[in-house]
Symmetry: C2
Subunit: 107 residues, 2 copies
């Protein structure tokens, strides 16, 4: 199992829409996340910053992320979520959510 | 099980010290955390902001946190960690790490 944490910001006027969307996440999106070997996935909000944490239990993360990106319903989900978000300034080219560094872990 | 996530900032010149401390966390501190029913505890760093995530598996969080606070080694640990940290402006009176809101979760 590998843990991933990342950050992104929300446009200030998009907080309510983002929370409502995620309180009613589409079933096919949830199923695809699970199919792509992501578990224990949480998103937290601090100010305008979203903090994401999940655990990857598969053995080919790149392939699973590619599979997720090919899914039509997931693409439609992203098409409504992404306009609400702004990547942080530290995001690398091609990054949307920006991976952050683990400095401590205790099982 | 209940998930907790929270944030705090690091003084800009304290990042290396904080990372070194947590790469060598004292064994008694780790044991006390486990004894107090905290599991799967991670801390991530983004800029000067620390994000903490853990899962509480006991049935009396307040009592367990009080037990942790009574522990002499934990107190000594906090005495070296706290001077490196500055609570966020949103912290409530008495808060050190500031709890943040979960907006999404998928097991």
């Amino acid at each position: 199992m590998k843990r991933y944490a990342s950050v992104i910001t929300l446009k200030p006027d998009a907080i309510l829409a983002y929370k409502q969307l995620h309180a009613h996440t589409w079933k096919q999106v949830l199923a695809k996340i699970t199919e792509c070997n992501i578990r224990n996935y949480s998103i937290y909000l601090y100010g305008n910053t979203l903090f994401s944490y999940f655990e990857y239990v598969g053995d080919d993360y790149e392939a699973d992320m590619a599979k997720m990106a090919e899914d039509e319903v997931t693409q439609a989900w992203w098409s409504v979520c992404k306009p609400l978000q702004i990547p942080v300034s530290e995001a690398k080219p091609g990054e949307w959510w920006h991976d952050i560094e683990e400095v401590f872990h205790l099982d």
